[in-house]
């Protein structure tokens, strides 16, 4: 197997889901058997097999990145530029190979789960087509070797997300959420695009490798480099739902639950983290600090909100945001591998959590349907409780995921979270940004607390609605199967033999932090390699921080779990009393820090207001001027007409009148009476006589 075969296999793996999309969209509903779900799922499974082949070959036999390029457009020779062309292509390195597998695994499992979950849906075929389109776009992000196609697929996942969130578009809330998701993402993408413009204008290429090489040569540095880094990261802020653009993700839960699992938990939202990892080499110290703070703030905000939410999917959504903030923070604080590791582990257990919640919602939905209750919200955890007995498989898998996300040993989450916290610890110690590790540890506790709150309220205790409870059943096999697989994937042995040491995992072994290409004066001092020692100061600190971080994070998680049990399981602490005691805080958190209201009342209303003003301006002012000038012209022409009528014609008429007047006068003499004439004659004769004779 050589490089070209690998590229070919990766390309096929990329295109298979797209082929499924095309088939389903044109023939799905009427021509294909079972509306084509098997075909689409088969394609994605094929893609999964190929991605495994690519993955193992890559990490075992090809230590160097494999790149394949082709010339897409060519502008020819351009003054002040040289040969201007855009080349696109595929890049397979360990990072993308791993991500390829992650995306395909989750996608396949979600496809399988959906066969059960979406059964009897009105747009069953359309749903699978969009899933295929999403998988294609996501794989495109993973495999691309340049900023341009990255942006292209970046937007395409946005569209598939839009279409899938709005899958049940008859509901206003669903179509609103879809719209919101797309527009908020567009805001982030705007920054991303500006970043790309900076890169293209200064480095004349989109290719990652060439861009990094160009930065290393000093073609882009200083404030502009930091700006480019932050702007590219803006794309991640939008896509990965980081503060301040995190508002779309909770609303995106309007989509079908498997979609939430695939897109809004495991893969698409992680694309922001992937992008940051991809472009990591060009991030300057300032940009990294910015990233770390954004991540930390996001993690904190989302975790605090998650505590108060009662919708099972919204709790998970905020936990996703929080975990994504973790990853971002980790990348920003220099723990590159840990951040990516957490992406991988989080993909499995968070997809599992969502699918598990999907299983619960599915059961609730059917139970409500049975008792003809169409008003109760099937996603509200206040209506659940005690489901453990009825849905054992869902419960136990859900427990594993919850343990994983809380960072309890023997789970994958423990490995990755521990690394992140160690990285934050080291970063805080060396850079003086102590807020970041503080938030990191605090959020670890919060995470354990709200996740166990969710678990307890849903599965433990007494059922709150007996009537519903009686009709609850475990989900069908096709839905349970992915849950089990994901639970297995959330255990430590998938990644490494030692459940307490992340450095023994294959992720740490094969994924390496890329060498920064940023000029040395724009890097953190402690990240620079020293001549005397082999490891950088940071790596040293990281190593030292490992054990304390682990103990501290375990302690925080244990504390969180303890409080959750005290409050919700054993009833030692009354949640209501606490809420009442901290009324303002509680209301503030319950309302999600009022972000939606803030944005609605500022940006949205302002834009709408300005747009109405623009319309008014057009209609009244510009058209007013246009119509006004038309009226003026008309007025002018009327007055010209009046002038013509009165003055010029008046003069002519006056002349005629005068002539007529004289005519009238003279006519009086000519009265037509002969006798008068005779008088004239006589008179005249007399006069003549007088003149001539007298």
């Amino acid at each position: 197997m050589n490089q070209n075969t690998l590229v070919l296999l990766a390309s096929i793996s990329l295109l298979l889901p797209f082929l499924g999309f095309v088939l389903l969209i044109f023939f799905g509903k009427k021509r294909l058997p079972r509306q084509g779900d098997i075909i689409e799922t088969g394609f994605v499974l094929g893609s999964l097999v190929l991605s495994f082949i690519v993955f193992f070959n890559k990490i075992l036999y090809f230590p160097e990145p494999i790149e394949w390029k082709f010339e897409w457009v060519n502008f020819g020779f351009v003054e002040n530029w040289g040969e201007m062309k855009v080349t696109l292509g595929i890049l397979i390195d360990n990072l993308s190979a791993t991500m390829l597998v992650v995306v395909n695994v989750i996608s396949s499992l979600v496809h399988i789960f959906s066969i059960g979950y979406m059964k009897d849906d009105v747009r069953y075929s359309r749903y699978f087509a969009y899933l295929g389109f999403f998988t294609f776009s996501m794989l495109g992000i993973v495999l691309t070797n340049n900023f341009f196609t990255m942006y292209v697929f970046w937007e395409l996942v946005g569209v598939s997300s839009y279409l899938l969130i709005g899958h049940w578009y008859e509901k206003k809330s669903a179509s609103d959420a879809a719209k919101k998701a797309f527009i908020v993402n567009r805001v982030g993408d705007f920054g991303f695009f500006v970043g790309i413009m900076i890169i293209w204008a200064s480095l004349k290429t989109f290719n990652f490798g060439e861009v990094f090489a160009g930065i290393e040569q000093g073609k882009l540095s200083g404030g502009l480099l930091t700006a480019a880094g932050i702007l590219v990261f803006c794309g991640a802020i939008g896509k990965s739902a980081q503060f301040p653009l995190h508002v779309w993700l909770p609303d995106a839960m309007e989509g079908p639950t498997p979609v939430s699992a695939l897109i809004h938990a495991a893969t698409m939202v992680a694309a922001g983290v992937y992008l940051t990892a991809r472009t990591y080499a060009m991030m300057s110290a300032d940009a990294l600090t910015f990233i770390a703070y954004i991540g930390a703030v996001t993690a904190f905000i989302a975790a605090t909100i998650a505590i108060t939410q009662t919708d099972i999917k919204r709790v998970l959504a905020y936990s996703t945001i929080s975990q994504l903030g973790y990853m971002t923070m980790s990348l920003g604080s220099g723990a590159y591998v840990a951040g990516f590791f957490h992406l991988v582990t989080h993909a499995a257990f968070k997809a599992g959590l969502f699918l598990g919640s999907g299983s619960v919602i599915h059961a609730m939905h059917h139970a409500l349907h049975k008792i003809h209750d169409h008003h109760t919200d099937p996603q509200d955890i206040r209506n659940m409780g005690g489901l453990k007995k009825k849905m054992p498989i869902t419960y136990y898998t859900f427990l594993i995921y919850t343990l994983a996300i809380s960072g309890i040993p023997l789970t994958s989450g423990f490995l990755s979270k521990d690394s992140i916290l160690a990285g934050a610890f080291a970063f805080g110690k060396l850079s003086g940004h102590v807020v970041i590790p503080l938030i990191g540890f605090f959020v670890a506790g919060l995470t354990a607390f709200y996740m166990f709150r969710l678990l307890i309220l849903t599965f433990h205790g007494e059922p709150k609605r007996k009537d519903i409870f009686e009709h609850i059943h475990e989900s069908p096999k096709v839905m349970v199967f992915p849950l089990v697989i994901l639970a297995v994937l959330s255990l430590w042995f998938i990644f490494g033999p030692n459940p307490f040491d992340a450095s023994t995992t294959w992720v740490e072994k094969y994924i390496h932090k890329p060498k920064s290409v940023v000029p040395h004066d724009q890097q953190f001092e402690f990240n620079l390699p020293k001549e005397s020692v082999l490891v950088t100061e940071y790596e040293h600190a990281l190593h030292e921080a490992h054990i304390p971080a682990m103990l501290l994070s375990l302690g925080m998680a244990g504390l969180g779990i303890l409080f959750a049990f005290l409050t919700y399981q054993w009833g030692k602490i009354s949640a209501e009393k606490v809420a009442n005691a901290l009324k303002p805080v509680y209301t503030f958190l319950k309302n999600k820090w009022y972000f939606d209201e803030l944005y609605q009342n500022t940006f949205v209303l302002a834009t709408l207001g300005i747009s109405r003003f623009a319309r008014w301006f057009d209609l009244k002012v510009i058209d007013g001027i246009v119509d006004g000038s038309a009226h003026l012209t008309k007025l002018w022409s009327f007055s010209v007409g009046k002038f013509d009528w009165n003055i010029i014609d008046g003069l002519v008429n006056l002349l005629a009148y005068i002539t007529g007047f004289f005519g009238y006068i003279t006519r009086l003499l000519q009265n037509g009476k002969v006798q008068t004439y005779i008088i004239y004659v006589v008179f005249a004769v007399i006069v003549l006589f007088y003149i001539f004779l007298g």
Binding site: F75, I610, S611, A614
Partner: protein, 534 residues
Amino acid sequence: MQILGIGILTWIVFLPIVAMVFVLFVPKGREIWIKWISVVATGIQVILAVVLLLNYRYDLAGVNTLEGFQFVEKYRWIDVSGVAWFGRIVIEYFLGVDGLSMPMVVLTALISFIGAIASWELPKTKGYYALYLLLDTGMMGVFVALDFFLFYIFWEVMLLPMYFLIGIWGGPRREYAAIKFFIYTLLGSVLMLLVMIGLYFSTSIIDPVTGEKVHTFNMLAMMDPKNYEPGSIFSGLHTTWRYIAYIALFIGFAIKVPIVPFHTWLPDAHVEAPTPISVILAGVLLKMGTYGMLRISFPIFPDGMIKYALPMAILGFINIVYGALAAMAQEDFKKLIAYSSISHMGYVVLGMAALNTQGVTGAIMQMFNHGTITAMLFLIVGVLYDRAHTRGLYEFGGLANQMPKYFGIVIIAFFAALGLPGLSGFISEAFVFLGAFQTYKWIAIFSATGVIITAGYILWTTQRLFFGQLPEKWKNLPDINARELVTLVPLAIIVIFLGVYPSPLINLMNTSVNHLVRFVSEMGQAGMQLGILP
């Protein structure tokens, strides 16, 4: 290249006129013949455009060199010797294409063909199609004429049928819209006419036949400073008169584009015009403004272009953002699309103002892509209006289930309009921004916010039309029919194809664009030092 002894460009320009004569002689009661004659004639035009494409040489630049033009036809048209002090008048029948006009020729042929099919159901067939074909000739002529006088004639020829097509076949406020359109455009024409006459008296070339010096309307001659008579009004570079002329010409073309604040004829004309005429208006006519700038303003007044590039870029930015904002506030579907046209033409202006390869390439691509995308959008509005007889955005909802095929087409067109990668609109917008960013960083960045607003109004429109519950009164709305699909699907294919692989279009214009950019920037910046006669 000739067919039956007549040049292919003459064929492509005057074929509609020939068809018009046939149409006029069709007896009463045979309206179907008229339709077929028109569709076949415009269809042949498309074939001729394809023939042109196949024989097009990609290495020739054109712009200001006669040798660079292809399929050239150059004959004496009007030659009056010695009219008192006026001197000898020579006007040439001078046609030719280069990379700037070739995409426009293809676009015009294509949109005319699709418009002819879309006109199938309109009343008063004979008059309609006769005017339509005349309009077609006018548009095509504008894009291939290389003699300023001829250009002006075609420019005016297209105006008259448009007036009647809006004024007779239009909506309720058609008279107002038609008159507004006519007077606006005429205002632009007058400015253009004045500049043209000034240029005529300023330039003179040696007549190859008689050897005497004669004034000329030849555009290519006007681009060469050596041909300007010393002491004449436009001689030299960077003179006040040349700036004035550039601005006058700019306004003349800006009205057509339309550039804010000369744009208010557009929403009225587009909304009142019948569907196929809206398609023509947005698809082709708007491009005549920007094409005129590229073909005439830039190479003839490079100094003015350079001097006023920044204001032009700002106008482009205003167009993008203002148009998008105004679109967002509209409640009439068609008016919204009309404003989106203003916004999208802003990208063209911005790209041209950047005056570099990506910017101008992006601008011309945007001209072509906007032509196809907006044609789709107006056809889409027409489909809905034909069925529901209303365009109020708030009156609809849930159409996605009622008209699934229609929904599919609309999604393609809408996403193309909001610049979704993979569809043609994105490519051109991206290149415009990449180009503009090199010249005007902040303007490019601010303009890019237009992309967000565009997403806003497009998605909001999608939601209002297609999502939610279907109102009771639209329960019987039929889905899109075969004839309408015939008009929409080819455009959708082009939109997708050029979105994935824009190289054919880029290669078509590339040589010319590079040449134009170099020529204009060198001429504009070099100023007086260039070899101008004393």
